[in-house]
C-alpha cells in the first residue's frame, strides 16, 4: 500500500492504494466516481477516459501511484449546461450513455487544446471512443455543432 494524494475535480484526497492498482479502480471503488467505467480493460475503447492535466488518458492502464500531482478530471465535474455536454444532449448523442463520459472528456480536452478544431479533426480524435449502440451519427451532429465555423 502506498499513500497517494490525488487532485481530482479540484479537490485533493488522500488514500492508500496498492502499488498495482489502476486509476480506474481507485476512482470508482475508493472515491465513488462512478462515471469512470470499465469496458475493455486494455485501453482501446475509451470508456474509462479521464483527463490528466487536461489530456485524455485511459484510466484502466494507468497505475494510481504514477498519477503524482497531475490534476484528474472526471465527468462528475461537468455541469449539464457546459458547451460539450449541452451539445451532446441537444443532439441526442447517446443511447445507453455508458460510453458518454469518455466521449465528453475526450472531446472537451481536444477543444480546450485547439478551439479552432474542424469537425473532421474532432471526429478523428473521437475515433478511440467506441459506442456499441451506434450513436456516432448523432455524436457527429454534436461535433459539428461544437466546431461550427471552423
Amino acid at each position: 500500500m502506498t499513500e497517494v494524494k490525488l487532485r481530482v475535480n479540484q479537490a485533493t484526497v488522500a488514500c492508500d492504494v496498492p502499488d498495482d492498482e489502476v486509476l480506474l479502480d481507485t476512482l470508482r471503488d475508493r472515491l465513488d466516481l462512478r462515471s469512470v467505467r470499465y469496458c475493455c480493460g486494455i485501453g482501446v475503447c475509451g470508456t474509462c477516459t479521464v483527463q490528466l492535466d487536461g489530456r485524455p488518458v485511459s484510466s484502466c492502464l494507468l497505475l494510481t501511484v504514477m498519477v503524482g500531482d497531475r490534476a484528474v478530471r472526471t465527468a462528475e465535474s461537468f455541469e449539464a449546461g457546459d458547451p460539450v455536454p449541452a451539445a451532446f444532449v441537444g443532439c441526442g448523442a447517446y443511447q445507453c450513455s455508458y460510453c458518454l463520459p469518455g466521449m465528453l472528456l475526450t472531446a472537451e480536452a481536444a477543444l480546450a487544446d485547439n478551439p479552432d478544431m474542424s469537425a473532421a479533426e474532432l471526429r478523428d480524435v473521437l475515433a478511440g471512443n467506441l459506442c456499441r449502440c451506434g450513436s456516432y451519427p448523432q455524436v457527429m451532429e454534436a461535433v459539428s455543432r461544437l466546431t461550427e465555423g471552423h
Binding site: 462512478r34 462515471s35 470499465y38 449541452a86 444532449v89 443532439c91 441526442g92 450513455s97 455508458y98
Partner: protein, 772 residues
C-alpha cells in the same frame, strides 16, 4: 400513411429540472439527460450492497473433457478468501436442481463432471476483495481429461462426431420443418433455379457494460438478486427452479443497462452469485472482465442454403431453405429460437411454395442467445444475398425483382396466413432512392466517380421479423396523494429509451407532461409480469399495457369524483389533455376523498391461438405483428486491396404509431452501425476449440471512422391514433450485411457469401469472378 423522412439534427431536448421529492427507485425520464452527461446516471455495475463479498469464476481452459477433480486448497489459503464453490460440492445438495434451461435442463450452473466449452465456469471463488478473489481463482487447480471437441455445427452432425449430451444424440438441439405448398414440385417446374450457401459466424453482443449480478439472502430464507438483465421474470423463474424455492421467495431486480442486444437474457451469472451468497452468508457480487463477457453469450453461427425457383415473369414460385445453427454447448433459447429463424427465413416475399428445414446442433463453443435481430441476421444474410443473385441470373434489377415479389396486404406468407399492415413498397422505395439503387428510382448520385482500381456500387436488403408470440405484459399506473404518477412495469432500460417511451405514452393518455411520469425499474417484487424485454416488443406490449392502465386509472378517478359530488367544479379529475393542472386537481380529489393512492391496471396478451403453429408444418398465426425494415447502401470497393468502404447508408423502418421519432431515428441509424460490424469485421472464431478473439482489440466493433459519411433514416408512421406502436430497435441490423454484399456485387461482380466481408474474401471473390 405518412412518411416522415427525418434527416435533420435531433430535436433539442435540454435537461429539465428534477421534480422535488422523487422516490429514489424511480427514474424520471426528464432528469436522465443531466444525469447521463455528468456521469451520475447509475448502471447495474454501480449497484453495491453493503457488506458485499466478491466472486470470480474459474473457467475451463479446455473445450471438452472429463472434469475429474478440482483442488481448491491453495486458493483457500489466500488471505481474504471466504470460500470456493464447485459443481461437485453443489451436486451433494439434493434441494438444488443444478441443470437448468428454457426448454431443456441441460446446463449445469457450474460444471459438475465434464466441461463443454472454453470459458465454462468450473468453480467460483469468493473473497473480501475482487483482487483476492482473482488471485485465489488463479490458484484453483482443475484436473481435466481432454476429449475430442467439435466447434462446427456441420461437423457436429457427422457420424463419429464428439457428443456433448448423451440424452441428445447427434448433438441435436432442435429440428423444425416449414412446409407451405409443394416446393419441390414447383421448383422442378420453375423457369429459373438458383442455389446459394451463405455462412455467418458467431459474434459477440459486446455491450459496453459487462455482465454483473449481486445476490443476498434474507433471514426468512428468500433471496434477492440485482442483475444486469434485460428481463427479470425469466431470470426469477429459472433461478427459483435451480434453488428449489417457490417463486415468491426469489426477487430479481434489474438496473439500467449499458447496452444488452440480447446478451443479457436468461440465467447468466445469477445462479452463481445466489449460490455463492448462500455458501458465505454474505451478499456476493460478480462483475465480468471483458474476456469473460466474450465467453458468456454469443450469436448463433449458421449455414443457410437457399434454393429459389422463378417463373418467366420474374415471380418467385418456390423456395427451399436449409438451416444449420450452431447452438453452442447448451440449448438455452435455441430450440425455440431456431423455429423463429426458420419462420422468417423465406424473407418478406409472396412465395406460393416453401419448404424449410432447420436443425440446431450442440458444439463445444460459447452458449448462444438472441443477438439484436435474433436469428434474423443469419437468415437475412441468406435470403437477401440470394435475391440479388437470382435477379442477376434472370437479368432483372434487384430493386425491381423485389418489387415484383414483396408481400403486400392480403398476400399469403409461408406460414399460410394472410398478411396485413405490410409496408414494403414504401420501405423499399425509400431505401433504394436514398442511395440511388434501382432502375426506376431516379438517377444515381452525381459527382465524381471513383478512379480505378476503385469502383462504386449500390445494394438494398429487406427484413421481416416476427415478434415474440405468444407473449404477455402487465402494467400498473399509480397516482399518489402527492400527485405523483408512477408507471410500474418490468421493462428493461438498456439504452433504447424504454422508460422515456412508457412515460410519454402514459403522459399522453393522462393528459400530463411525460416529465411528470416516473417509471420504475423492473423488480419482480414490485413490477408486474412481462414475458421479455427483447424481440422489439417493449414499446408495443408494455406500452399497450401502460395505455390500458392509464384508461383504467382515469375511470377509477372518475368513479371517485362521482362519489364526491360536493367537490367544487373544476376540482374533479380533468378531461384527458387538460394540461399540467391535472396532477394538482387529482391531488385535491384524493385529499378530499381521503385516499392515499389510486392504481390503474392494464395488460397485453397475444390473441388466443397466436403462435400455436402446426408442429409438422409451422402453419398458423406466427406473430402478433410483423417488424418491417429495409436498408440501402452505396459502397466503394478497392479492387486491388479488397477494402470496402460504405459511403452511404439509409435505413427505412415501419414504426406503426411512432411514440418519439427522434428515438426511432436513433434506433434506425444505430442499427445500421451495429449491423456494419457483422457485415465487415466481427467474427467470434475458434482455433482448436479456443475462442480466438476475446478482447476488443482482437474483436473489432465499428468505430467513428467506420460510420458511413452519409447516413439517414426514413420512418414510416401510421397516422391512426389507435394504431399499434411497433418496436424498431432491430429492423435495420440484419439487412445491413446483405445490402453491403449486394452493393459490392453491383460494383465489381464479386459475390461474397461468407461473413464478415473481409478484404481477403473480397479479393478471393474477385478472382473467382474473373476465373469464371
Amino acid at each position: 400513411m405518412t412518411e416522415a423522412a427525418i434527416t435533420g439534427p435531433a430535436a433539442a431536448g435540454g435537461p429539465a429540472a428534477v421534480p422535488p421529492g422523487a422516490p429514489p427507485e424511480v427514474r424520471l425520464t426528464t432528469r436522465d439527460s443531466a444525469a447521463r452527461v455528468t456521469g451520475r446516471f447509475r448502471f447495474a455495475v454501480d449497484r453495491y450492497v453493503t457488506g458485499t463479498a466478491h466472486a470470480v469464476a474459474v473457467r475451463s481452459a479446455v473445450p471438452h473433457g472429463e472434469l475429474a477433480g478440482i483442488r481448491t486448497s491453495d486458493a483457500e489459503q489466500v488471505p481474504g478468501v471466504l470460500g470456493v464453490l464447485t459443481g461437485q460440492s453443489l451436486a451433494r445438495d439434493p434441494s438444488l436442481h443444478l441443470y437448468h434451461g428454457e426448454s431443456r435442463a441441460d446446463q449445469p450452473v457450474l460444471a459438475i463432471d465434464r466441461v463443454r466449452y472454453v470459458g465454462e465456469p468450473v468453480a467460483v471463488v469468493v473473497a473480501e476483495t475482487r483482487v483476492a478473489a482473482e488471485e485465489a481463482a488463479s490458484r484453483v487447480v482443475t484436473d481435466v481429461t481432454s476429449w475430442p471437441a467439435v466447434t462446427d455445427a456441420g461437423e457436429a452432425g457427422l457420424p463419429g462426431a464428439p457428443q456433448l449430451h448423451e440424452q441428445w444424440p447427434g448433438n441435436e438441439c432442435g429440428r423444425w420443418t416449414l412446409r407451405h405448398g409443394d416446393a419441390e414440385r414447383a421448383l422442378a417446374a420453375a423457369a429459373y433455379r438458383h442455389t446459394g450457401v451463405y455462412r455467418s459466424p458467431s459474434a459477440s453482443h459486446a455491450a459496453m457494460e459487462p455482465h454483473c449480478a449481486t445476490a443476498a439472502w434474507l433471514p426468512d430464507g428468500s433471496v434477492e438478486v440485482w442483475s444486469a438483465t434485460q428481463s427479470v421474470y425469466p431470470v426469477r423463474n429459472r433461478l427459483a427452479g435451480v434453488l428449489g424455492l417457490p417463486r415468491e421467495k426469489v426477487r430479481v431486480r434489474a438496473d439500467n443497462l449499458g447496452g444488452a442486444f440480447g446478451g443479457k437474457l436468461d440465467l447468466r451469472l445469477e445462479a452463481l452469485v445466489a449460490l455463492a451468497a448462500r455458501m458465505t452468508g454474505r451478499p456476493v457480487r460478480m462483475e465480468l472482465r471483458r474476456d469473460e463477457v466474450f465467453v458468456t453469450a454469443a450469436k448463433h453461427a449458421a449455414t443457410v442454403t437457399v434454393t429459389t425457383g422463378v417463373d418467366r415473369g420474374g415471380l418467385i414460385v418456390a423456395r427451399i431453405i436449409d438451416i444449420v445453427w450452431n447452438a453452442g454447448a447448451y440449448a438455452i433459447t435455441t430450440p425455440r429460437g431456431s423455429r423463429t429463424g426458420l419462420i422468417r427465413s423465406p424473407g418478406p416475399y409472396r412465395i406460393p411454395h416453401v419448404l424449410g428445414h432447420s436443425v440446431a446442433r450442440y458444439t463445444n463453443t460459447v452458449p448462444t442467445g438472441p443477438f439484436r435481430g435474433a436469428m434474423s441476421g443469419q437468415i437475412c444474410w441468406a435470403h437477401e444475398s440470394a435475391m440479388d443473385e437470382v435477379a442477376a441470373g434472370i437479368g432483372l434489377d434487384p430493386v425491381e425483382f423485389r418489387r415484383r415479389n414483396i408481400l403486400r396486404a392480403g398476400d399469403v406468407y409461408a406460414t399460410g396466413e394472410a398478411m396485413a399492415d405490410m409496408h414494403y413498397d414504401e420501405l423499399l422505395a425509400a431505401a433504394a432512392a436514398a442511395v440511388g439503387a434501382g432502375a426506376r428510382d431516379g438517377a444515381r448520385p452525381a459527382g465524381d466517380g471513383p478512379r480505378p482500381p476503385r469502383r462504386r456500387g449500390r445494394g438494398v436488403a429487406l427484413v421481416m421479423k416476427t415478434t415474440r408470440t405468444p407473449s404477455r405484459s402487465e402494467a400498473i399506473v399509480t397516482l399518489g396523494a402527492d400527485g405523483q404518477v408512477t408507471v410500474r412495469a418490468s421493462a428493461g432500460e438498456m439504452g433504447q429509451g424504454a422508460a422515456a417511451s412508457l412515460a410519454e405514452l402514459a403522459g399522453r393518455r393522462l393528459g400530463i407532461e411525460a416529465g411528470r411520469v416516473a417509471v420504475s425499474v423492473a423488480d419482480t417484487a414490485t413490477t408486474p409480469f412481462d414475458t421479455t424485454s427483447s424481440s422489439s416488443r417493449t414499446t408495443f406490449a408494455i406500452g399497450t399495457s401502460v395505455e390500458r392502465a392509464c384508461k383504467d386509472l382515469l375511470a377509477r378517478l372518475a368513479g371517485i369524483a362521482d362519489r364526491y359530488p360536493e367537490l367544487p367544479p373544476g376540482e374533479g379529475p380533468p378531461e384527458p389533455a387538460a394540461g399540467a393542472d391535472a396532477c394538482l386537481a387529482w391531488k385535491r380529489l384524493l385529499a378530499a376523498a381521503g385516499i392515499d393512492s389510486v392504481s390503474g391496471h392494464g395488460g397485453y396478451a397475444s390473441p388466443p391461438g397466436a403462435g400455436k403453429l402446426d408442429p409438422d408444418t409451422l402453419q398458423g398465426a406466427a406473430s402478433d405483428h410483423w417488424h418491417q425494415g429495409a436498408v440501402g447502401v452505396e459502397v466503394e470497393v478497392d479492387t486491388e486491396t479488397g477494402k470496402v468502404e460504405v459511403l452511404r447508408a439509409h435505413g427505412a423502418s415501419y414504426g406503426g404509431r411512432v411514440v418519439d421519432p427522434v428515438r426511432v431515428r436513433k434506433q434506425t441509424t444505430g442499427g445500421m452501425v451495429f449491423g456494419l460490424g457483422q457485415a465487415l469485421m466481427e467474427d467470434l472464431c475458434y482455433d482448436a476449440g479456443q475462442p480466438a478473439a476475446t478482447t476488443l482489440s482482437d474483436y473489432q466493433i465499428p468505430s467513428f471512422l467506420d460510420v458511413p459519411p452519409v447516413i439517414g433514416a426514413t420512418i414510416l408512421a401510421s397516422p391512426d391514433p389507435e394504431a399499434e406502436p411497433h418496436g424498431v430497435g432491430e429492423n435495420t441490423v440484419p439487412p445491413m450485411a446483405p445490402a453491403v454484399a449486394n452493393a459490392i456485387f453491383d460494383a465489381t461482380g464479386a459475390r461474397v457469401r461468407d461473413l464478415p466481408i473481409t478484404p481477403e474474401r473480397v479479393l478471393r471473390a474477385l478472382r473467382a469472378g474473373r476465373a469464371s
